[in-house]
Amino acid sequence: MIKTDILIIGAGPTGLFTVFEAGLLKLKCHLIDALPQAGGQCSELYPKKPIYDIPAYPEILAGDLTYKLLEQCKQFEPGFTLGERAETIDKQEDGSFIVTTNKGTKHQAPVVAIAGGLGSFEPRKPLIHNIADFEDKGVEYMIKDPEVYRDKKVVIAGGGDSALDWSIFLSDVAKEVTLIHRRNEFRGHLDSVDKVQELKNAGKINLVTPAEITGILGTDKVKGVVVKQAAHIEKEFEIECDHFIPLFGLSPKLGPIANWGLEIEKNAIKVDNSLDYQTNIPGIFAIGDVNTYPGKLKLILCGFHEATLMCQSAYKIINPGKRYVLKYTTVAGIDGFDGTRKESPKAVVKKIE
């Protein structure tokens, strides 16, 4: 059982900033995210795209924003359960909650903050008749641990950034990498496209286009895939492999959270915006894109504000009756849970003669 003060569901920008604000109040956080890395949409959908409405940043790439938020909160030592989806929530007699993921990991906290954005990202699965039989038996829709593929034969399908970037990465790890796409054109960052071209020329990536996978071979695990290629003349052939990784993007679904007894409106969780973004269940808050209230705007900067107010309320739940006043970081500095301290340099008091 993982125990913490605030259990945050969703490791996007709002969830990550919550760690910082909670840390100032000496509250510890743990984050759960269905994706294998932190950053939410910013790292999954558009890491290389710029955002122009983060205060004080005329322009910042979404991936850089994630990196900076992680850097900003790291002294508060957040815990992470990544690549797992929060499935159920159970209220305990002492008022705390136990949240269990789809992999069975249990987390307990007195306060739960849902910062789930658009919901958990579910992979878009290709329409291959027997694909379900091989899930987790050689078919993986996202790459969690690249080491799994060391010295293996891997087939990747897809035409976007993740298919390109993982083909590049695995070309150094796996025994053999084949990239299959329905078109000759790939849609990705120019660097990535150029790099795949280079690796293809060097014989480190087998590129098969335009083609698609029509079947999976094997009995209890993946032994190969059936490929239909439509260049010049149509032909069908088999490629021997240990892993087939279809990377066709992810689509967000509110998912199991929708069944937690929370009041839902417009695919979002209704909260009290006059106070602290608490839901209809005391102790459960919803912040960032996942919530709704009159005048709601789904902006990262609004999520930051909501996270900050939410933490004040969480403090009162966790420390009933305990006094506290808002402190400015410039004045008070920051004491990390890792023993580090950040503070502004003291002014010099010295006579000028």
Binding site: L118, G159, G249, S251, K266, N267
Partner: protein, 110 residues
Amino acid sequence: MEQDINITITDRDGVTHKVLAPTDMAMNLMEVVRSYELAPEGTIGICGGMAMCASCQCYVTSDTELPEMQDDEEAMLFEAYNVKDNSRLGCQIQMTPEMEGLVVELAPES
């Protein structure tokens, strides 16, 4: 102020709506659908209009001359489901005076 234009949108339940769309607010068709709440929030325009999710796919049934399809829209439609010859991404159709009389049907949610 520029003129509003008339757009006809059939939602995913088959109900047809005739709406007015401003041409001076840099809005696209996906945003017009959202502003009139013709599809539930969270089921359209998920990626925010970057041609990265196809949740705003629609079928264009009028003979309106549409802006030419860019590479990213074409690539996205290639990977989307329920695609027809007249499929377009709503987020890539800007509301300009030339779009007057546009008639579209929203593609199923996928």
